[in-house]
Symmetry: C2
């Protein structure tokens, strides 16, 4: 069977138009963000919205919970939607909610979103104290039920401790190497070696603040970076996690950055003069543009097997190993 | 394969001891009550407790969600535990929670528990206004996702309207005929004819307040009533729903009766002088006593096929027809 096309992180302002674009782009599976700062009950409201979309647009999308659903999506010409949290806020202070959320279909959870959480330290804090007491327990529980630890927005020590403490491979679903573009959110060579050395996955982000040159980043530079990462870490540990925030109003990037934790605005990766969502690079605007990335990877001289893996085969293998009980 | 033994309503103070008794009694499936007056979030706490029991006592019990799980229970020598609500309080005022609760494994929901709810009228109200606007919508949604409408604690008109409005057969999981014992909670011949005429199921209760003679009710009287009901309504629409409240402290019957809706005590089916849980009849105390009921049914002269159906086969068929999407 053909290798699937998987984007392992999107937080678009989803709509039938975007679901249609997923089909036009031949995207077989997408991991979408269900929560940033929501409580458990608020997160369930977001799930309810997805249930309505699944009911109303069952010709285009369905809820994915297992790796087999990616194959089903390919067979049926639909897109499987997988759920994840960018913050552990929905499990509140209750470890029992890990299994409840898994039962509701959540397959990825970041231990932090920029700030200190109950579980670990985010990448914007001054001091990184690693996994907390609860953090260690929650990682063990996530390992048990089959929910992937995602450290995309976490600080260095916390990330290394999560890799070490987890008995199953973890993921950085959307970030790039710091050696290519030294953004706070991008990951050190040390982290990426530890991550991939333990069987984990890195998803490359197309969010402009994570790109060398920002919006003006060229496809050649982006794909050259991926080829270099394949040399350093092995192509089989790499995939795509675009962080596509298509059609979102700027109010949403504010929600992502400050939620309810601050009374003053925090510009995160932006600035006073560039407070909203940055414009996307010309070669990636929506789900119809994955062909550009594929072509760019082929142009680097990578093998077609490696390109297929990065475009989805590696995430599929990772789903197979990660979403069931330990 | 042998016909399974199914008890379609228990609200015991569950413990490893009771799970062991289920195995000793050869009980293949039990529908347990997850909520009386809980909000959604509080109900989830109850699910978390069950998840811990499933994790810690997987040799005895597992979570059942489909009819096939009853067969699996028989094959594996374990008991499948199915979930239900005795009140719609966990869906709050949010119809989207019907599907969320179904995804969490809820397979039965009463539209009312004694009082007026957002959906219908309970059997203790003075006036019965039938299904509410939201009630009609929720029944339609329950039909769609595969959650059974249970009218055990509902008033007459509401029950008849639920039978009429539902496009799938409904259940009265735990009650007895009013013509045998005229308790407020027991059901009229009109209701039972409408229920079974539409393919629905009645589960016979062993809760003493529902029994002719109360605690002193004889096995002969109970089984004679079942034989009479089989003549009137057809044996295939009958099953067991003991309402077993084993090991519960009297504080729990108070919670069941008044929750947080009243500042004064309401004795429900009890009285000032008999406020707590009534003593069980000698022939049914716990999950090891289903053989007595079976023997009592055989003694009435019913066919062994009818007895097998009432002891579990009928609920199994109903599960097969009811728990999947419409």
């Amino acid at each position: 069977m053909k290798t699937p096309l998987i984007d392992n992180l999107q937080y678009a302002n989803f709509s039938p138009r975007i679901f249609q674009q997923m089909r036009e782009g031949g995207v077989d599976a997408v991991h979408v963000t269900i929560a940033y700062h929501e409580s458990f009950r608020e997160m369930v409201l977001n799930l309810e919205r997805w249930n309505r979309w699944f009911e109303d647009h069952s010709d285009l999308i369905f809820k994915g919970t297992t790796a087999a659903d990616v194959r089903r999506a390919q067979n049926e010409g639909r897109t499987a939607i997988f759920f994840g949290f960018q913050n552990p806020s929905p499990i509140e202070d209750d470890i029992g909610l890990v299994e409840i959320c898994h039962q509701l279909g959540i397959r990825f959870m970041q231990l932090t979103y920029n700030n200190q959480s109950l579980l670990a330290t985010g990448c914007y804090e001054d001091d990184d104290t690693g996994l907390t007491r609860m953090g260690r327990q929650v990682v063990t529980e996530m390992n048990r039920v089959g929910m992937v630890v995602d450290m995309s927005h976490s600080a260095e020590r916390s990330t290394l401790e999560a890799i070490e403490h987890s008995t199953r491979p973890i993921a950085i679903t959307h970030a790039n190497p710091h050696w290519w573009h030294p953004a706070l959110r991008n990951k050190s060579d040390t982290v990426l070696k530890a991550l991939t050395g333990a069987g984990g996955m890195l998803g490359f982000s197309v969010y402009p603040h994570h790109l060398a040159g920002g919006t003006d980043c060229t496809l050649e530079s982006f794909c050259g970076m991926i080829a270099e990462a394949a040399d350093r870490y092995g192509a089989r540990h790499l995939g795509i996690g675009t962080d596509l925030c298509q059609d979102q109003p700027d109010s949403v990037v504010e929600w992502m950055r400050v939620g309810r934790w601050s009374k003053v605005i925090d510009y995160g990766e932006g600035s006073v003069s560039n407070a909203g969502f940055p414009p996307m690079p010309t070669w990636f605007n929506d789900n119809r543009d994955f062909g550009n990335i594929r072509d760019g990877l082929v142009a680097t001289g990578m093998s077609s097997a490696d390109v297929d893996g990065i475009m989805g085969g590696n995430w599929l293998r990772f789903y197979e190993e990660s979403f069931g009980p330990a």
